[in-house]
């Protein structure tokens, strides 16, 4: 459903991602793993129009998206959950969720979508009137995923959902992602937590220096010798 071809881009003259090619299939979780500074987040930014100098092709359900502005990506059904749980801090939790339903065609189903979000993250319901900036990191992460769900997306791009969270919270976030995937949601997951990422995803790609160096079934990658040594710390 999502095809990326010959994608090259970066900041100014600096090329951060070099010649990226991959597909996302409907209903799968594809994870992107790799070391700090490998270009994982930059790649995600490129995939929703946030990178200014971009060459190549991004096709979503047959439509060419490369070169379109970020707000257009939202309208075709791609949600991008940024890293470090970026919420609108001085707006209430409810207002934050409503922002997810900003696209006009999504506004009829607000109540139904709110129920879906509360089912997944009951804690958000208790905090509806609170300013989002006063939530804990974990709650903010739940909120950003909730916002994405309010968009009723066909595809969710998730940037490091485990970053800076306690292990227990990471588990509950990942449980929620698993549930979403079982209900048919397609997810592209960027993670530094390689173990978690390989556990939840069906397929995975390893990025180093802005290039895909390994691509395949998560199970195979988990058993790959170098991955084991370098990223999972097992001999």
């Amino acid at each position: 459903m999502f095809e990326v071809r010959d994608l090259i881009g970066g900041y100014g003259k600096l090329e951060v991602i070099k010649n990226i090619n991959f597909d996302i299939k409907e209903g799968e979780i594809l994870s992107i793993i790799g070391p700090n500074g490998a270009g994982k987040s930059t790649l995600l930014r490129a995939l929703t129009g946030l990178l200014p100098n971009l060459k190549g092709s991004i096709r979503f359900l047959g439509e060419e998206l490369c070169g379109k502005p970020p707000h257009y990506y939202a309208s075709v059904g791609i949600a991008h959950v940024q890293e470090r749980h970026r919420v609108f801090g001085t707006m209430t939790v409810r207002e934050n969720l409503l922002m997810g339903a900003y696209i006009k065609t999504k506004r009829q189903s607000i109540e139904k979508n709110l129920e879906t979000v509360f089912e997944l993250f009951p804690r958000l319901k208790e905090r509806l009137k609170q300013q989002a900036g006063t939530l804990s990191g974990g709650e903010q992460q739940m909120l950003t995923i909730g916002q994405a769900l309010m968009m009723m997306p066909r595809l969710i791009l998730l940037d490091e959902p485990s970053l800076g969270l306690a292990p227990l919270l990471i588990n509950s976030i990942y449980d929620a992602l698993m549930k979403l995937n079982e209900q048919g949601m397609t997810i592209l997951l960027v993670e530094q937590n390689v173990k978690k990422a390989l556990q939840i995803s069906q397929r995975a790609m390893l990025i180093e220096n802005g290039e895909i160096v390994l691509q395949g079934n998560s199970q195979d990658i988990k058993n790959n010798e170098t991955i084991n040594k370098v990223y999972l710390g097992m001999a």
Binding site: T48, L50, P69, P70, H71, Y73, A74, S75, A79, H80, Q82, R86, F88, G89, T90, M91, E95, L98, M99, G100, Y102, I103, R107, Q131, Q147, M151
Partner: protein, 287 residues
């Protein structure tokens, strides 16, 4: 005595707040320091004056007619400012809008001369009593309209999708765009809405202030004081800041000398910048 001073201060403060609300929203969303804001107030005053003189339209009604013109002026000025890269916005916009401000005020002087003008309503001299304070009807109406508009604007910002997207853009334009907000359009619209508020404020205060071409510089300084006082980008802060400035001016002109009245704004401005640069609301409850 003291009560009547405070009441009068609050009345004027409401109008100051209305001017500042437009300014604070423009700054909050686009980081544009709009020195033209006072001249929009001036144009609002003149348009209300002219519509009243020529056609007998009340200055409390004429903004309905003139608001679209201010929206257009806002969009035009925004187009001039748009190419400035975000990092240079604050300084460049200050200089450009200051230039536009001088040109506008000078043109106003060429067209309407430097004469002081007043809008004379049939009830201009009539007063009523509250707590032993004599309040002129024009002052009361002007303040009441300002408060109604500020409350309406507050609900617009918190209860409508358009208002929420303006706030979201002010907080984090990148995130807002990922939810489908066209940040460019919203910025342009915000600038237009801010100038409409200034124009409306001008019309509303025309019955109680002298109208002359350079009157805008007076208001822009007060508006900036209020914005700094209330916290940049905060509507609630602008309301509180306006009331505080109105009351402190009223107190200063009574207990000090009348000429001290305008110094108060500068004293508040400097003290806030020195002691609490984030404003009284600390930039926290930004609406």
């Amino acid at each position: 005595m003291i009560i009547s001073i405070i009441i009068n201060g609050l009345l004027i403060g409401c109008i100051y707040s209305l001017i500042a609300v437009g300014l604070t929203v423009i700054f909050g969303v686009m980081r544009i320091i709009n020195m033209f804001h006072g001249d929009a107030v001036m144009l609002g005053m003149y348009s209300a004056y002219l519509l009243h003189e020529k056609y007998g339209i009340s200055p409390y009604i004429s903004p309905i007619i003139t608001a679209p013109a201010f929206l257009v002026i806002g969009l035009a000025i925004y187009k001039i400012l748009e190419p400035i890269p975000p990092k240079q916005r604050e300084m460049s916009s200050l200089i450009i809008t200051l230039g536009i401000s001088f040109v506008t005020a000078t043109l106003a002087m060429l067209i309407w001369t430097a004469d002081y003008r007043t809008v004379n309503l049939s009830y201009s001299q009539e007063v009523f009593d509250i707590f032993g304070t004599r309040i002129g009807y024009p002052a009361f109406f002007s303040s009441a309209f300002s408060v109604i508009l500020i409350i309406a604007f507050y609900f617009f910002m918190t209860k409508t999708f358009l208002g929420m997207s303006i706030r979201a853009t002010a907080i984090d334009p990148v995130s807002a765009s990922l939810f489908g907000v066209n940040v460019k359009v919203i910025s342009m619209l915000t600038f237009g809405i801010g100038l409409v508020l200034a124009g409306v404020a001008g019309a509303i205060l025309s019955p109680i202030f002298y109208i002359y071409p350079f009157v805008g510089s007076n208001f822009v300084i007060k508006a900036f004081t209020i914005v700094v006082l209330g916290g940049m980008g905060s509507v609630t802060g602008a309301l509180i800041g306006g009331l505080l400035l109105g009351v402190s001016e009223a107190l200063a002109s009574t207990f000090l000398e009348y000429s001290m009245k305008d110094i108060i704004a500068f004293i508040i401005f400097l003290s806030v910048l020195i002691f609490k640069p984030s404003g009284i609301l600390g930039g926290k409850s930004r609406v």
